[in-house]
Every structure is written in structure tokens, then in C-alpha cells.
């Protein structure tokens, strides 16, 4: 009976057939097979089958984007594990977190890893943005991907912020209270204009965020949903678009003369040398001269193994770092949230502390005006700097490095000077108690920093006759100012937002 024989034969061949069905081509022993593997694999094909050697250099990217992705994956995995035990209820949340720490097997480590990965992701995403900026990788055709990146930055901050509330301890409760008050900041303007009763976008924003006037069960459910469904889903979609755009925009950016500066590697072979008779109909719809747009294939290497191994190494190293952090440093858990005993000072999560410092001058300008200016400014960078020279080169060369240094020094002096001045001498309200609030809203250290930075940038642009250098100036100033303000608000602000040299000198106010 041939059918029975065939069945037996099929059974014998089952493992091999399944392997072939999975791989759909021979074992990836040749470059072509590896490329095919990458090309035909759902997860891998977001990579190009070949990658330029420049992109593999650590100094090109410092792997920041991949690290951010790895952290996001780690967060998703640990987050799902935590979700198994976490109860998003104002009465049970805190206890369930305690249970995760003490009762759930490896729950403590999972929670710690989640925590450190989240903070790490914010840091890495910011650094990634800086890398992209300083290598001028935002330029056309990558301008839109820069915009996507900005959206991802905001989503990352949102994910971190919404997760902050879930333990339902004092730290979380009051940080979120502060955060939601920042959302309410337009009210300062509407109050000053006297139209709050009829038009209250700030109150609406806060209400939308919290579902109530104060942080409570409604806010917890909203934050929980945002944290586990809405924002992760959004981040996934944006990530997909982000990576896809990299592929479509011709891989990573690289300096114009990089191919010429070094000889071809011995091991690299023509891409399609093995089957040169193949035709590529897709070429017709791809811009440029070849599927690898703008570039010849000569300086590329197969993604498998070179890129994939590098990525795997980054994955392993990142995992080790967060695991070690999770083992050694317990994520803080304060006492149960108590709406009647405010923390003093109540501080927002660290990445919003710079904002909180600005809000302390004026809620509207610090909470809405300046962040809006910054975000719009960042978004517009690719469209304002249309130069093409020195793309892919760190700081666009020596002149840029010099501008960056000078800008950093300028911003340091300017912001620290401003802080020192306002700490020592106060501000308009201290000198003229009856001054209209509108004046303070628009004339305060925060707006002056923005104005100063803008002037500096325009000066640099004019002096160097380069929009790129002007952009470096403004971006550097922004980063430095952000870092200084965050540092200052974290370590030198105490009860009632007063200035203290150290935490030890805080007065005992409860």
C-alpha cells in the first residue's frame, strides 16, 4: 500500500520537513541563505539583508536605539508578569504590590527590573535622540522618522508617568498629583484673563487625566489602562513605523565619504553574484539607483550574522545590566497613599522635575508654553536645517563640536546664573507684590531661558552662517538646561520648594 508507505516515509522525514517548512530554504550556511533567512522571516525582515559596515560601528550609534527597544521588550515581558498579580484598585493596589514583593516567586526581582528598565528607557531614549541629532541623521529623507521619534519620546514619558501611580504609595500619589497639576497649568492664564469659569482647558485636561478632581480610583483605572493597553499599543505601532522607516530611508545614515575612506573588505562579495540572472521588478518603485538606496552594495556585509549577533549581544548585555540592578537595588515603595497628608515637597518623577522647576515660576509658562515651544522646536529641526553637508558626522565636524562646547558653557552659565539669581533675589512678585500675574507668566526665569537660548542660537546661526550650527547651539542649550534644571530640582529643592544645599538641611515640616 503506497499510501501507508508514504505515511511511514513522511513520519521518518517529519523533523527534516518541519525544519524546512520553518526555514523554507537550506541551512543558513552561505551568505545568500542567510540573507534569505532574514528576508523571509517576519521578525527579521525589518532589517535589510545586508548592512553597511559603518552602521555596525559602536561609535556610530552606541546601540542606543536597540537598547531602547530591548528595554521596551523587557518592560513588556516583566509588565505582563506583574499584571498577573497586580490589582488596579485603590484599596488593593498597594497590598498587591506588597504581595508581588514578598509572596510572588521572583516577583521582587521582576518589579525591580521593570522599574529600572523604565527609568533606563527614558534615559536611553533621550540619549538616542541626542545621537540622532548630533549625527544630523534627522535630515531628509529621515525627517519624518525624526517626527515619529519625537512621538515615541512623548509616548515613553507617558508610559513611565502612568506607571508611576500604580503602586499607590505616597510617592506615586503625590508625584501624579503634581503631574496632573502641571496638566492643569493653562488655568493660570485663563485665571489671569478671568475666563476660567467659561473656558477652562487646564481643568479639562486635569479632569480628563484623573477622571475626578483629585487622584483616586478613577485616576488609577485611567492610568492603568493607559499604562498597559493604550500607550504600549501606541508604542508598538510607532516602533514598527520607526523601524520600517529606517529600512525605507536607506538604513542608518553615514557620512558621504565613508566608502571612499576605506577599502572594501576582503570578505565582502557582490550581493547578487550567485544568481545574477534574477530580475527585480520592485526596483521600479524604489527611489534611487538600487534597492539599497543611494549606495552601492560594496561596503555592506550580510546582516546575518554581523548585525543580528551585535543586536543579540546588546540584548544580552542590557538584560544583564537591568538584572544586576534589579538584584541589588530594590525599587522604592513608600507607605500607602494618603490623600490627607501631602508629601512636602511633593516631587514629580525625575524627568518632569525640570518642568516642575519651571512650573514653580509660572504654571502656564512652565507647564504648557515652554514644553510646547520645546517640542515644536524639536519637531521643526529637520525642516529648518535643510543643509546636506556633513550628514552622519558627529557634530558635523570640528566647527560643530566647537559650537556645541560653547553652547554648553553658555547654557550652563546662563541657567545656573538664572537659578542663583532667582534663589538669592527672588523674582518680580517678591519685589512688586501687586504686579499682575500675566506679567509674571510671560516674564520669568523659564521664559528668559527660552529667550536667551533662542538669541544665542540666532547669534550662532548668523555668526557661522549655518543653520546646522545654529541647530546644534539650540539643541545643546536645551539638553544642558534640561539636565541642570532636573539636577537642581532633584537635589536642591526642599519643602515648600525652597532652596537647600542638601537634604540633611531640610527643616522638619510635615
Amino acid at each position: 500500500m503506497p499510501a501507508l508507505r508514504e505515511l511511514a516515509h513522511n513520519l521518518r522525514r517529519l523533523p527534516g520537513n518541519m525544519k524546512n517548512a520553518f526555514l523554507r530554504h537550506g541551512a543558513p550556511t552561505s551568505d545568500r541563505a542567510r540573507s534569505q533567512a532574514v528576508f523571509s522571516n517576519f521578525f527579521l525582515h525589518v532589517q535589510s539583508t545586508r548592512v553597511h559596515r559603518h552602521s555596525l560601528r559602536a561609535s556610530t550609534t552606541w546601540a542606543l536605539g536597540i537598547i531602547a527597544l530591548v528595554l521596551f521588550v523587557i518592560l513588556c515581558v516583566t509588565g505582563v508578569l506583574l499584571m498577573v498579580y497586580y490589582k488596579p484598585s485603590a484599596t488593593e493596589a498597594y497590598d498587591s504590590v506588597k504581595d508581588i514583593i514578598y509572596v510572588v516567586p521572583v516577583g521582587r526581582v521582576m518589579r525591580n527590573v521593570h522599574r529600572w528598565a523604565a527609568h533606563g528607557m527614558v534615559v536611553v531614549v533621550l540619549l538616542h535622540m541626542a545621537r540622532v541629532f548630533y549625527t544630523a541623521s534627522y535630515r531628509a529623507p529621515r525627517a519624518f522618522n525624526w517626527v515619529i521619534g519625537m512621538c515615541l519620546l512623548v509616548t515613553t514619558l507617558g508610559l513611565s508617568f502612568t506607571g508611576y501611580l500604580l503602586p499607590w504609595d505616597q510617592l506615586a500619589f503625590w508625584a501624579v498629583t503634581i503631574g496632573s497639576n502641571i496638566a492643569q497649568s493653562p488655568r493660570e492664564l485663563t485665571d489671569a484673563l478671568g475666563i476660567t469659569s467659561s473656558f477652562d482647558p487646564g481643568g479639562f485636561a486635569k479632569h480628563l487625566l484623573l477622571g475626578a478632581d483629585t487622584v483616586g480610583q478613577e485616576a488609577l483605572v485611567r492610568f492603568y489602562l493607559l499604562h498597559v493597553i493604550v500607550l504600549p499599543a501606541l508604542a508598538c505601532v510607532l516602533c514598527g513605523v520607526h523601524f520600517w522607516r529606517i529600512r525605507k530611508d536607506g538604513g542608518l545614515n553615514r557620512p558621504a565619504g565613508v566608502d571612499e575612506s576605506e577599502p572594501e573588505p576582503e570578505t565582502s562579495r557582490p550581493v547578487f553574484s550567485e544568481t545574477s540572472d534574477k530580475s527585480y521588478a520592485l526596483v521600479g518603485i524604489v527611489k534611487g539607483r538600487s534597492p539599497v538606496v543611494d549606495r552601492g552594495p560594496e561596503h555592506t556585509v550580510p546582516s546575518w550574522p554581523h548585525l543580528l549577533y551585535a543586536e543579540m549581544l546588546v540584548l544580552v548585555l542590557t538584560t544583564i545590566v537591568v538584572l544586576v540592578l534589579g538584584y541589588t537595588l530594590d525599587a522604592p515603595l513608600n507607605v500607602l497613599a494618603n490623600p490627607e497628608v501631602p508629601e512636602n515637597p511633593a516631587k514629580a518623577p525625575w524627568y518632569f522635575l525640570g518642568l516642575q522647576e519651571l512650573v514653580s515660576y509660572s504654571a502656564f509658562s512652565g507647564g504648557l508654553l515652554i514644553p510646547t515651544i520645546v517640542v515644536i522646536g524639536l519637531l521643526l529641526i529637520p525642516f529648518l536645517d535643510r543643509e546636506q553637508a556633513d550628514t552622519g558626522v558627529w557634530f558635523s565636524g570640528a566647527a560643530g563640536r566647537r559650537v556645541a562646547w560653547r553652547s554648553a558653557v553658555f547654557a550652563t552659565v546662563f541657567v545656573i546664573g538664572g537659578l542663583a539669581f532667582s534663589v538669592n533675589y527672588g523674582w518680580l512678585r517678591d519685589w512688586y507684590p501687586h504686579i499682575p500675574q500675566l506679567v509674571i507668566t510671560f516674564v520669568n526665569p523659564g521664559t528668559l531661558y527660552v529667550l536667551g537660548i533662542a538669541c544665542w542660537s540666532l547669534y550662532v546661526t548668523k555668526r557661522t552662517d549655518s543653520t546646522r550650527l545654529g541647530a546644534i547651539a539650540v539643541f545643546t542649550c536645551f539638553l544642558v538646561a534640561f539636565a541642570i534644571l532636573t539636577w537642581f530640582a532633584t537635589f536642591y529643592r526642599g519643602p515648600n520648594w525652597g532652596f537647600y544645599w542638601s537634604r540633611a538641611s531640610w527643616p522638619v515640616v510635615h
Binding site: 509572596v103 576605506e262 543579540m312 538584572l323 497628608v341
Partner: protein, 1032 residues
């Protein structure tokens, strides 16, 4: 740029990935090992196993041990380390292997109860610091030692203040009985906890805090105070070194509430450190009962008696008023001392009870009826407060003392003159030194009134006076009557038998006696005097003493004011009433058989004369003066002959010389002698309770007509006899102390120097004896009415004057609005409703010892200012204006004020209502007392405009005598002369001129008002009389 060798780099990357993966797996594996094989508890169990006897060792496996208690919502893994907890062999071993001390585990088996139910901590954790809750943010750290007993209350719910009140559903439990057993119940062994409970229920914590709906709302609710978590407390004000735990916070808080909780009104209770710790532990034990019913301990004792007043006081009141009732120690809570004798003597039980039940808004005193106390419980608390009053002197013993009038005078000046006036003329209290009062008031009545007081009316109970002091006071009062005439003097006057004596006696009789004994001595309210049977058997001595000493406790006054001559005249007049001669009855040689007489008395006499001879005001045989003066012969003859014209029949079988009705059952001489012998037993009976005349159903109704209508008692004594211008008389205490005789006697005789006039035969509207009895019957009905109104003392002044006085005298302490500054708030509806005028006046007059309230009465020595009775009334009048602002009077209404004075001081008793006059005055040249409603005409004012001009001038406080010109008035000079004359007449008084020059002086004279009325008050009365002028 460095060349990149892909192949080398790829290999290096592979190695790094391999190493990294191994490290990752190693990290995960180490965590897995830590979870599965690490942990101190394994080491302890291994240690424990090595100590076991070999034969047990095999059956012991090292494993995580946990007690899962779904009912309690607990998973306790404590025995993973504390493995030997129920193994007696491990006694004395070091922790964690040691056995549990004591035998508590015998009942509380760890398998059924777990560990954390008592010891707290974190049962799920398996590492030492986390499990014990040390150094981490855990709300229930491990407890040991005495503190473990705090957890007992989780299940032993009847250690809570009121035991297991299952009816409590989170809301308020009002009107709930609190049982004594609940307050005293304890848990064996839990010494600290039990001490805490004892402190809790005796320190008055519930005065400010509430527990299950009982208690005040000033402080935080304590029902679930033990459930408060560490972060519910503010540790910023703790003294250094005190750990930041709820227990330590509570302990520090009890030791110094103001420091730990700035702004707290909580008083420092002066607890020792141990007591503070005990109370703190007890607080921690007050938790919501969250254990299922099967875990709860059965009640240890039945509920038993309701909580006593002392227990309730300890529970609710002691916190503010002090455990010794001496008031609070906290500067923030001004609580009055309840043990102050001044307070207790004037505050009636009703007042205290009302204050407790309805609170005092504006002060911290809550309305306890709304905070869980029942009426009966408050009554018990009042009883407890009252028990702090000194007992007072014994009435019987005091009555036997002979006081000294001189020291009595000093005492009177010190204690009594504030209200009764320096000369006893009355003020806030009634006039007490008048002869009319004294001749009617028996010693017993005066003593009882002094000793027991009349709190409703403001008369304090003088419990802190000694018996001899009270006796001294009585002696002083009696001395005001003057010495009594001696029998010998009267008898020598009788022997003289001067001409005209009978005539003079008749005048005296008509003025004084006729109202009771009838115009011809035929008897009415008093017995008949004119019957031949009586006059022929009553000796002169009997008559003289009956007149002089009266019949104490009856309406027959002691006529000590009559001189020997007058008494003799009266006796002679009485003798003239019947044409008989007195023949002393022969004393019988054989004394009768008293026992036999007793039987006869019960059968025949008791119906009228009462079982004990206290037959009533008119036929009382047990009266001490009667028993002292009635000879056996008199009694014998009185029974034998009866008394004609009365209900007393002649019991003698053949009674000679008698016109009385023969009795249906005649008695032999021997039987009568038996009764006489029995009557002797009445003599010397000490305490006699007044016997009220029996009344018919309609009497009270008729009495009401008299009271409200013809007699117009209502005008002075208030609509319901609660007192107004005159004293409150529908007061059961007053009626009980005074007795029917005093009341009826006062109605008939009036009281000289006051507005109370004679309602006997000499009045505008004389009352018949029956009407007098009816009125008394009505008073008794009113007195038995529970809804008695408090007495109101009307003031002749105005609210404006009261306010001036208040602002000058009281506002400094009580605040300009009466809301209290240093002194208690007065302006609260509860206080003003509960405080009678008497209470207010007595407090103003007497002050309150040991407080800043000094006496303001006229004789007070301590007060800076002396207020007259009128001024005190004005102040009370002003206080009342807070209650009902509508009573505010215009300040300048002089005629209205004059009208009030006219009625209060009693002008109307002679001059008639609205000055209509017409009261007959016996032997007065004018016949009747002159009317005053035409005074304007008499003073030369003939036109309405003239009267109006004069009144306006008086209202404007201009001196009429100094006026130069008064526009509409033609003859100003003539008017001023008349005005001056009238004013002087009122001030100096005038003796009425006699119609018959030889006759006795008319009883009604114009008294001198100089001492009683101020010039301005006289002016007001004149203004009132002027305003009465009717122009037609």
C-alpha cells in the same frame, strides 16, 4: 579609521553573547536557588531537626510551613522559622526555636489562629526583617510582651467599652443602655490592657470623643482608633527619641497632648508613664471587629446592672469636669466645678439635667440626648453630682437647739440679706422679718426652707450651714417678733376689767379675727368661739395662750404683737359673746383607760379629727399648743357637751348646759375619760406632716376662678402660680414645707410690707373661708402638675438699664454678647431656658466661691459693686432679652415703668387696680382709701395737653421743681407745689386719721416709701397716676 575585520568581530561577538547568556542564566538560577534552597528558615528547621530525638527525626521534613486561614484573610508562615513554638521540649531555647511562653496556645492553637492575629508582623514574608516588619514600610510591625494583649480585643470583643454592641451598624446608637458589667469587664492576664480600659471608662474620654455613637464630637472618633495606620499620625512634634509608631505616638500624646498635637484641646490628664502606655495600648485595641463570629470569644459575664451614675460620670463627664468634679485642668476648656456648694445649692436637679440633656450651645458642652445618653442615665448622673453636696444639718436635731439671735443677725447679714434685704424687707426673696410672716410660719417650716431651699425659686439649700447656725438664724427671725406677753400680765389686766375693754376688744376682733372666726365668733375657717359650751369650759389661760401662741402649722397665727391689754380686751370680748360663766371642770379622780379610749377615738373621732389627731387646720387635736393648754376637764366637757353650731355633737348621755346636737352613740363618763386619756398621747409628737383639707372635686375649679379672677392672685403669683411679682406658690416643695395653715393664714392675713394684702374680711374683695380653701385646693392641683413653669421675676426697669448694668458689671467676664470670655457663656438658648430667674438672681447675689464670680448682693463683702435687688432683676431682664428680643421696651416709657412699680410694690392693694381706689378702711375718716386716677386734677392739670406736657418733661428727665416754664401749663407754680406735696407724701407716708376719735386706729395707713423706692421710681409712679386721668 580603523579597519573593521568582520570575521574577527563576529567571532568576538559570539563569545560575548555566550558569556553574557551564561551570566544571565546564572543570575536567574541564583535567584531560583535563593527562592528554593536559600532562606534562614531552612537552616533553623535543620537545626531543629538535629535536636529532635532520633526516632522523630525521620518523620520531620524541612519544608515551608504555613497556616492558611481564609476566614481571617491570613497566610502565616511564621512557623517556618519558629518551628518549636508548640513543642514543650523547646522551652528556654533561644529564638526562633523556643516554645511559646505560658499556656496561651492551649486554647489558641496555631493551626486555627495562626500567629499574626496576635503578634502582627507580615505573615507571608519569609525573611526576618520583612516578616517582623522592621526597617521596612510595613504597617503592622511585630509586637511582643504585654502589647500582644492588645490583639486580644480582636476576638474578645467584650473588652471594648460597652462590650459587644451588636446593634451597632456603623451609625449612631442612641438611647442604648450601658451596663455596669460591660465597663468593668476584663481579660485575664492582660494587665496593661485592663488598666487602660479602667482609665478609659473613668477619665471621661467620651466627653469629647465618641465611641460607637456614644460621646462627644470635639475630638476624633475612637471607635476604630486601633485600626489607624502608622501614616495616619503626624510624628513631626514628637519628642526626640520617640519611635515613629502609633503606639509611641499615642503614649507621648497622652503624656503631653498639647506638645504632640499642637492646637489640640485635649487636657493633660496627668497620667504616669505606665498609665499612658496602658491607655495607648487600650486605644490600639479598639478596632473594627473583622474576625468571623466563630473566632469571637463568648461573653464572659452577663450584662447585669445598668451603669451607675458614678460610672457614667467617669465615662462621659470626668474628662472636662474632673474626676473630683472640680472642673477641668485644661486652659482651653473652661469647665465649671460641679462640686461647688454654691452651685449645688441653687441649681435644681431639673436645671442640671436640662443642661446635660440639651447642652449649652456656644460652649463645649454638647447636648447629651443627642450623643447616646438616655433620660434615665442622665438622672443617675445628676444623682451622682448631687451626692457631692454636703448633707446639711439634721432637721430634728436643729429644731431642738436654742440659737442665739445675735449670732443669727450676723449670719443673716452675711447669707440672707443679699436676697431678703438688710431689714428683711425682701428683694429677690420674700420679706421674712415682717410680723405677719413670722406669726404664721412655724419653726419647722422656717428650718426646712433654710435647710432644703427652694431651688426653683432661687432659694438655696443651706447645706453648709451647721445646725447651730441655722438655729441662730431662726432665733434671729423670732427675735424680730418681739417678746411675747406673759400670761400673768394679761391676767392682771383682766382682773382690772377696765371700762371699754369689750369695745376695744371688738375692734381688735373685727380687724384680726373675724375673717376666720366670723363676725360674731360663729366660726368659719377657724372654729366657732361663741358657743356657750366652749366659753363655759375654756379657761382664761387657754384663751390667752391660744391667742398668743396660735396653733403652729395652722392658719391660726401667734398674736405676739398684741399687748397684754389688747389680749385682755380680746378675751373679755370673747367672754361677752355668750352669756355663760366659766366654771372650771372638775378634774376626775380616775384617769380613763387610754387603750379603750383609743378604740373609741378610732371609731368615733378619727373621721373628723384624723387618726393621729391631725384632723386638719380647724379641728386639730395634736397641736402642741392645744395639747399643752387643754386640761383634762376641758377635754372631758368638750366631748361631753359638744359644741353647738358645729358638727361636734354632745357625747354625754345627759349633757347639761349644752345646746349641741346629741350624738347618735352616747358615751358614758368612763368612756369619755378613756378618750381624754388617749388624747394625752398626742402631746409631744415631734414631726407632724401637714394635713390638707379634704377637697371636693369642684374645689380646684372654683379655686381657679378665685386665683385667676376675683382674688387676682394671678397678678402677682403668675398665671400658674409659678411666681412673678410675688413668690411662686404652686410649688410642691413650698406647699409641703409651709402646710395648709400657713398658706390659708397668709391669704387671710396678708403680709405687711409687701404687696400681699389681707384677703380676709378687710379687702377690696374679701374671700369667703370656702374660697380660701378652694384656692389652696387649686394650688395643690397646680403644684402636682409636672409641667411647671419656672418663676419669672418681672423687673420694673427696662432692658436698657439692664444692659447698662450688665456692661458695667458682667461684660468683662461674660462678654458683651454673653457668649463668654473668661466666664461661662450665658447667651445660649439651652442655658437661658433651663436657668430659672431664681437661679440667675441667686447666682448674681451670692456669687460662686472659688471662681471669679463674686457676690453682687447688697450685703456682699467681696464684690466691688453692690447691686440692689432691682438692679439684679434688671440684669436678668436684660439676659432674658437675648431669649426673646421682642420684649425690649422703650427706655423712656416712664408711665409704663410706673405701672409695673405700682403693681409690684403693692400700691394697688389699697388704691385699687388702675388707681380706682375704694378699699374700705375701718374707722378711717375717709371711709375708703382714696383713689388715684384723678391725681392729675388734684395736682392742677385740667387739660390733656397739660398732662402730656408734664409727662414729656418727666420722660425727658427734667426736674419738674426746677422748671421755669411749661408752655401749655398756666399755673406752673401751683402744680409744682402739688407735685412736691404728693412726692413727700409718698416718701414719708401718712397715718390715717380716725373717724371715731376714741376708736382703734384704722388698719390701713399710707406707709413710708422712702426706703423702698428711689426718687426716680416715685416719679415713675406719679407719672403713671397722671397718665390715668380720663378727660371726657
Amino acid at each position: 579609521m580603523k579597519r573593521l575585520n568582520e570575521q574577527v568581530a563576529a567571532r568576538r561577538t559570539k563569545i560575548l553573547i555566550l558569556v553574557g547568556s551564561i551570566v544571565t542564566i546564572g543570575l536567574l538560577a541564583s535567584e531560583a536557588w535563593r527562592e528554593n534552597f536559600g532562606g534562614a528558615w531552612r537552616a533553623w528547621q535543620t537545626e531543629y531537626r538535629s535536636r529532635l530525638k532520633p526516632r522523630y527525626r525521620a518523620g520531620f521534613s524541612v519544608e515551608l510551613r504555613q497556616v492558611f486561614l481564609p476566614d481571617l484573610g491570613r497566610v502565616d508562615r511564621c512557623q517556618s522559622c519558629h518551628i518549636g513554638i508548640d513543642d514543650p521540649a523547646m522551652k528556654g531555647q533561644p529564638q526562633p526555636l523556643t516554645a511559646h511562653p505560658g499556656n496561651l496556645l492551649a486554647k489558641h492553637t496555631p493551626d486555627n489562629f495562626g500567629c499574626t492575629i496576635c503578634h502582627e508582623g507580615q505573615g507571608r514574608a519569609t525573611y526576618l526583617p520583612d516578616a517582623h516588619g522592621e526597617g521596612i514600610e510595613w504597617n503592622e510591625p511585630l509586637v511582643d510582651g504585654q502589647l500582644v494583649y492588645v490583639s486580644c480585643a480582636r476576638c474578645h470583643v467584650d473588652n471594648m467599652p460597652f462590650g459587644e454592641t451588636t446593634e451597632f451598624f456603623g451609625g449612631r446608637v442612641s438611647e442604648h443602655e450601658i451596663f455596669s458589667g460591660q465597663l468593668t469587664r476584663t481579660i485575664p492576664g492582660a494587665k496593661q490592657l485592663n488598666r487602660g480600659k479602667q482609665l478609659f471608662v473613668s477619665s471621661g474620654c467620651l466627653g469629647c470623643h465618641s465611641y460607637r455613637g456614644f460621646g462627644g464630637t470635639l475630638g476624633p472618633d475612637l471607635t476604630h482608633v486601633g485600626d489607624q495606620e502608622p501614616h495616619d499620625y503626624d510624628y513631626s512634634n514628637l519628642p526626640p527619641g520617640v519611635p515613629h509608631t502609633p503606639l509611641a505616638w499615642l503614649e507621648a500624646h497622652f503624656l503631653s497632648p498639647g506638645t504632640v498635637s499642637p492646637g489640640s484641646a485635649m487636657p493633660n490628664m496627668g497620667l504616669s508613664r505606665d498609665d499612658a502606655a496602658a491607655l495607648a495600648a487600650y486605644m490600639r485595641s479598639l478596632r473594627a471587629v473583622d474576625v468571623p463570629a466563630k473566632y469571637r470569644a463568648p461573653s464572659m459575664s452577663p450584662k447585669g446592672e445598668p451603669a451607675s451614675g458614678a460610672q457614667l460620670f467617669g465615662l462621659f463627664c470626668a474628662g472636662c469636669h474632673g474626676r473630683d468634679l472640680r472642673g477641668g485642668k485644661n486652659a482651653k476648656i473652661h469647665t465649671p466645678s460641679l462640686a461647688n456648694p454654691d452651685f449645688l445649692s441653687v441649681a435644681s436637679d431639673e436645671f442640671i439635667k436640662t443642661m446635660i440633656l440639651h447642652g449649652r450651645s456656644g460652649t463645649l458642652m454638647p447636648a447629651w440626648s443627642k450623643h447616646g445618653l438616655t433620660d434615665a442615665q442622665v438622672t443617675r448622673i445628676v444623682g451622682y453630682i448631687r451626692s457631692h453636696e454636703s448633707k446639711g444639718a439634721n432637721l430634728t436635731k436643729t429644731a431642738a437647739l436654742h440659737g442665739s439671735a445675735d449670732s443669727g443677725r450676723a449670719l443673716y447679714g452675711k447669707h440672707c440679706a443679699n436676697c431678703h434685704g438688710l431689714r428683711g424687707e425682701g428683694g429677690i426673696g420674700t420679706a421674712v422679718l415682717g410680723k405677719d410672716f413670722l406669726m404664721l410660719a412655724s419653726d419647722r417650716m422656717i428650718l426646712r426652707t433654710i435647710l432644703e431651699g427652694r431651688p426653683q425659686n432661687g432659694m438655696p439649700s443651706w447645706h453648709d450651714l451647721s445646725g447651730s447656725e441655722v438655729a441662730d438664724l431662726l432665733a434671729f427671725l423670732r427675735a424680730a417678733e418681739g417678746p411675747a406677753v406673759s400670761e400673768a400680765d394679761v391676767e392682771s389686766q383682766l382682773a382690772k376689767s377696765r371700762p371699754g375693754a369689750v369695745k376695744a376688744g371688738e375692734v381688735l376682733y373685727q380687724n384680726n379675727c373675724a375673717s376666720c372666726h366670723g363676725g360674731k365668733g360663729e366660726g368659719a375657717l377657724g372654729p366657732s368661739l361663741s358657743t356657750p359650751e366652749f366659753l363655759s369650759t375654756a379657761s382664761d389661760t387657754f384663751l390667752i395662750r391660744a391667742i398668743r401662741d396660735g396653733r403652729p402649722d395652722t392658719a391660726m397665727p401667734a398674736w405676739k404683737r398684741l399687748s397684754a391689754t389688747e389680749t385682755a380686751d380680746l378675751v373679755q370680748f370673747l367672754r361677752s359673746l355668750a352669756p355663760v360663766t366659766f366654771t372650771p371642770a372638775k378634774a376626775r379622780s380616775d384617769p380613763g383607760d387610754a387603750d379603750y379610749g383609743s378604740l373609741l377615738y378610732r371609731k368615733l373621732c378619727a373621721e373628723c379629727h384624723g387618726e393621729a389627731g391631725t384632723g386638719g387646720p380647724d379641728n386639730e387635736l395634736a397641736n402642741p399648743v392645744f395639747t399643752a393648754t387643754a386640761s383634762d376637764g376641758f377635754l372631758f366637757e368638750a366631748i361631753r357637751r359638744g359644741r353647738s353650731g358645729t358638727k361636734m355633737p354632745a357625747y354625754g348621755a345627759n349633757a347639761t348646759g349644752s345646746h349641741a346636737t346629741p350624738a347618735k352613740t352616747p358615751l358614758s363618763d368612763e368612756q369619755i375619760a378613756g378618750i381624754v386619756a388617749y388624747l394625752h398621747r398626742f402631746a409631744g409628737r415631734g414631726e407632724r406632716t401637714p394635713v390638707w383639707p379634704s377637697t371636693r372635686p369642684d374645689d380646684a375649679k372654683l379655686g381657679r376662678e378665685v386665683f385667676e379672677g376675683s382674688g387676682a392672685c394671678m397678678a402677682c403669683h403668675g398665671e400658674h402660680g409659678e411666681g412673678a411679682l410675688g413668690p411662686g406658690i404652686a410649688n410642691p416643695r413650698f406647699l409641703d414645707e409651709a402646710g395648709p395653715g400657713f398658706v390659708m393664714g397668709t391669704i387671710v392675713h396678708g403680709r405687711e410690707g409687701t404687696a400681699m394684702r389681707k384677703f380676709g374680711s378687710w379687702g377690696t374683695k374679701a374671700l369667703s373661708p370656702q374660697q380660701v380653701k378652694d384656692t389652696v385646693a387649686y394650688l395643690r392641683v397646680r403644684a402636682s402638675d409636672k409641667t411647671r413653669l419656672p418663676r419669672r421675676f418681672p423687673s420694673t426697669g427696662t432692658v436698657g438699664e439692664g444692659r447698662e448694668l450688665y456692661e458695667r458689671t458682667c461684660a468683662k467676664c461674660h462678654g458683651p454678647d454673653g457668649k463668654g470670655v473668661e466666664a461661662p457663656s450665658l447667651n445660649t438658648p439651652e442655658f437661658l431656658n433651663a436657668a430659672t430667674d431664681g437661679f440667675l438672681l441667686a447666682t448674681i447675689a451670692r456669687g460662686r466661691r472659688d471662681t471669679k464670680m463674686v457676690p453682687f448682693g447688697p450685703s456682699s463683702s467681696g464684690g466691688e459693686q453692690h447691686l440692689s435687688a432691682e438692679e439684679m432683676r434688671n440684669i436678668v431682664h436684660f439676659l432674658r432679652s437675648w431669649q426673646s428680643p421682642s420684649t425690649v421696651e422703650p427706655d423712656t416709657d416712664l408711665p409704663r415703668r410706673g405701672k409695673a412699680l405700682y403693681e409690684r410694690v403693692g400700691c394697688f392693694t389699697c388704691h385699687g387696680r388702675a388707681g380706682k381706689g375704694g378699699v374700705p378702711d375701718w374707722n378711717y375718716a375717709g371711709g375708703t382709701v382714696p383713689s388715684l386716677n384723678n391725681l392729675a386734677e388734684q395736682m392742677g392739670l385740667f387739660e390733656p395737653e397739660e398732662v402730656k406736657a408734664v409727662l414729656d418733661a418727666m420722660r425727658a428727665k427734667r426736674d419738674l421743681l426746677a422748671l421755669k416754664k411749661l408752655p401749655p401749663l398756666e399755673d406752673l407754680q401751683g402744680f409744682q407745689d402739688q407735685y412736691k406735696r404728693v412726692r413727700e407724701l409718698i416718701q414719708t407716708g401718712k397715718t390715717a386719721s380716725k373717724r371715731d376719735v376714741n376708736g382703734p386706729p384704722p388698719p390701713l395707713n399710707m406707709p413710708s416709701w422712702r426706703e423702698v423706692l428711689s426718687p426716680r421710681e416715685i416719679e415713675a409712679i406719679i407719672a403713671y397716676c397722671l397718665s390715668l386721668q380720663k378727660f371726657e
